[in-house]
Assembly symmetry: C2
């Protein structure tokens, strides 16, 4: 279902600011902070208030249309979200972020931890960090040059 439909179906309007934020994030390969979103849109002429960026992100996140991802250094940003169970993998060098499908791969771990701790697990946060193909290539080239 399109993000416009998700908004409508939940009684929200498909407004200019929401469209701008949504489309920008969909195009971006990297997570963006509210400020970065504001600046990117301002510079490309399509101005909107900083407040609207915050409000759009809040709503879009609530509806699952965008996701928050955490950088290794602790800062966080937003990426366009896909539906269903999924997680993100971030490049430590260029911050390129892509999504991978969630699976039952954690179920063994979760069972073990439930047995160990007596917690009942219902949810999880998982992100992988590493180096993306492009940055690996750059590293390889640099090494060759030496």
């Amino acid at each position: 279902m399109s993000w416009q439909k998700v908004l409508s179906n939940n009684g929200y309007r498909v407004s200019g600011p929401r469209r701008l934020v949504m489309e920008l994030l969909a195009e971006s390969a990297q997570p963006m902070t509210p400020l970065e979103i504001y600046q990117a849109l301002s510079q490309s002429g399509r101005a909107l208030g900083m407040v609207s960026v915050y409000r759009a992100l809040e709503l879009l996140a609530e509806l699952g249309l965008v996701c928050v991802v955490y950088n290794p250094n602790g800062s966080s940003g937003y990426v366009a979200g896909s539906a269903g169970h999924h997680h993100h993998i971030l490049c430590k060098r260029c911050h390129r972020t892509i999504t991978f499908a969630g699976s039952e791969d954690l179920s063994d771990l979760i069972q073990r931890v439930e047995a160990e701790t007596n917690f009942r697990v219902s949810d999880h946060l998982l992100q992988l960090y590493g180096i993306c193909p492009e940055c690996q290539k750059i590293s390889a080239d640099t090494v060759e040059d030496n």
Copy 2:
């Protein structure tokens, strides 16, 4: 190795504020924000500046003596950290947080994602959310009462 030793070995002093923050977190069952730490210490007479809380946390986190954990709602807090590969599980109801040992349980998942995405994975962020034993018991009691 004790946290005091870690500080010393890295050329830092075992100061009052660092001790207060470290001991408070070690005793706390829940993650705490800088403000919560500041207030808790102030109220128990052992006053220190807000700024010192920030600085202590920054340093302790850098040395791996405390960890940042993310609440399901997006807010974050600090917990006393254990050494080695580990993760945290949080109770969604009372925020009690405990540590569980990391393992190789993600290696299958990581291999799959590396194959799918061509990323080289070096690190990960994992947290589990659920209900702790105490809160399960409360739920059970409540149900019985009905």
